[in-house]
Symmetry: C2
Subunit: 378 residues, 2 copies
């Protein structure tokens, strides 16, 4: 039985689902000859770990208690109160030192997978340390990969030791497929993707003639948007995904060099207008312009899509007219889609399409990444 030690950073929605998946896959993984051993779980303020990370693990009962506490909105530190031995809870001041300690103890020659399911900028330092210590790294968190090129190079130092499928299109096999294309020497000429479920939904609703303000309001009600819908409408999240794909293709690109079209003007930004004000007074002012663009596209046999285009040395993010009868043009609802053009997929692209968001799917992608690392473990 191959044992993979896992240290999980971030146990919000995705992290919790990952812990649940790990527990429910015990017998499946045993049949595959793999056993996952959780040797640490942390949120932003605490770390829970067994007394002896070399020999012990956090058992499923404790993991389910972690999930219960986190899903109730509490902090991991609450666990301290039910200390029964068998595990330790470290506080914020000890957190990074103890995480590093575990990486030191287990990391050598890939004895540990450090998994980042947080949405934090703060994990990058410990991730780089983990790579240095010989650990594998699995990311659902986009931010470490979209930091400086210096950070990126350190994280991707050993490409086989890092997996990050769930940073683009949740569990959709985009990164795995791109890596296969790259390693077969098939040169990728262009990638076009609709990488935001929220903006995919918005764009396909606009097509039916509804005003932008109404569509965004509906998306918010359906829970498709962030609490402040401008986090989606800014295009920043799509740009991060585009940057990750571009860097995977070997392009030396930084966030600042990406041309991003925001769906709202600067003067309606979060610093200058409240969410309520934006939704009730701001966004209606954008309706007419978008409506005109939708009509113009339609008269060209096209529809509008909010896409990311990677081509040559550029990454562009914004609204594009695409032919109605292309895979992108036919996309409806909140699915993501990625079209990859290469020597092998020249006239007709390789297309990968499906749900590109959701905690369950995102966590499944992370788990597949962890299992795919198994050959690096003893």
């Amino acid at each position: 039985m191959k044992k993979i030690a896992v240290l999980l950073m971030g146990c919000g929605g995705v992290g919790r689902h990952l812990l649940q998946h790990i527990a429910s896959c015990r017998s499946l993984h045993a049949k595959m000859g793999v056993q996952l051993r959780v040797v640490g779980v942390s949120d932003s303020k605490s770390l829970v770990a067994p007394m002896d990370v070399l020999k012990e693990e956090l058992n499923d009962e404790l993991l389910s208690e972690v999930c219960r506490i986190k899903s109730s909105g509490s902090a991991l530190s609450k666990l301290g109160a039910l200390e029964k031995g068998g595990y330790r809870v470290f506080n914020a001041s000890e957190l990074s030192r103890e995480t590093e300690e575990i990486a030191k103890l287990l990391g050598k020659s890939a004895g540990l997978a450090v998994v980042d399911c947080s949405a934090s900028m703060e994990t990058i330092e410990i991730l780089i340390k983990a790579v240095d210590l010989g650990c594998c790294v699995v990311l659902a968190n986009k931010k470490p990969l979209t930091s400086t090129l210096e950070h990126y190079d350190k994280l991707a130092l050993h490409p086989r030791f890092i997996r990050h499928e769930s940073t683009v299109g949740a569990g959709l096999p985009v990164i795995a497929s791109l890596n296969r294309i790259i390693s077969s020497g098939d040169p990728v000429n262009k990638i076009v993707g609709s990488l935001s479920g929220t903006l995919g939904y918005v764009m396909s609703e606009l097509e039916d003639g509804k005003p932008l303000s109404q569509v965004v309001q509906a998306a918010k009600t359906l829970g498709y948007t962030e609490p402040d819908p401008r986090d989606d409408l800014s295009g920043m999240d799509v740009a991060r995904k585009g940057l990750i794909l571009a860097r995977l293709l070997g392009k030396r690109i930084i966030m600042d060099s990406i041309k991003i079209e925001s769906l709202y003007p600067e003067e309606m930004g979060p610093g200058l207008m409240s969410v309520d004000d934006f939704l009730h007074n701001g966004i209606v002012k954008l309706d007419q312009n978008i409506e005109e663009r939708v009509k113009r596209a339609s008269s060209n046999g096209c529809v509008l899509r909010y896409v990311c285009v990677i081509e040559g040395s550029s990454v562009q993010v914004g609204i594009r007219e695409v032919p109605k009868d292309s895979p992108l043009g036919r996309l409806r609802g909140s699915d993501n889609i990625v079209e990859i053009y290469s020597r092998c997929y020249k006239e007709q692209p390789l297309v990968i399409q499906g749900a590109g968001a959701g905690n369950d799917t995102t966590a499944a992608g992370v788990l597949a990444d962890i299992i795919d690392l198994q050959d690096l473990f003893h």
Copy 2:
């Protein structure tokens, strides 16, 4: 530098392209820290190998000579005539013993990838021996995986040591994606695929009202069909692909239990009618029935597709009505498409679409498989 020794069986179209890809990817793979060392190439009658497989390899000059000979339609044995030392050519009677010898010398703990790019039933014995000897196995050849369950179990004894992306949809990342879904514990409920470029083309042309006989004739002229188009129209090739996917999902299914709808009746089979007779007198008799089915489908808002459906314990292969506006219904031309339904991809499936045939693409899939085995090598 990680060295992967490769023994290639079958150097027809796919095998030749693989050798070319290997040679042209030298510097790319060096950057990735991997080096492919070709220690044997065989066709059905000969094996070429270096004098000392432990230390030497077939150099790129020789590999390109192999490609030249094979693309001119000659047999590998022709190489013998230009023997300049540095390599040996074994004849048919020595072929399997020498192949096994190389597997014995290199196989232990995955020192060798045995790659089957033939279309032969005959390779299965040596493949099973290679697995026993600790080799990795990479297949573009569907036949070994669609033999008896006993054979299948022996080949798939160590699932991490066998890769076969190019057995379904050429280089399309179908197997890799399914393996990820399986290992994440996301239960696959159903797979629906259009897995034949030829039949995909035929079906989408029928939709435009053309008669079957004319469409098949055109497909043959375009080089889309086998020399005898009945090899495509029988559905056997699609059934093989369906069986491979079903077995990957753990289903204990054999070829005989698959319900296959052939597009021609038994009395027009290859044993009873010549190709010419079939194309000129046979197939026109099938036009009317198909035309009626196309019309019936259209009146239901549907189109006909030749699909493989895997659901529960059954695999069915044949014509189905599918909604015009589903991914399958919108498929045009010779692209393949696979829809995967699971817990994560429930209402909307995970869709993978693109060119599912061609030597270049198929060989690229094989090469990606070989590179993906690297962590098993020293």
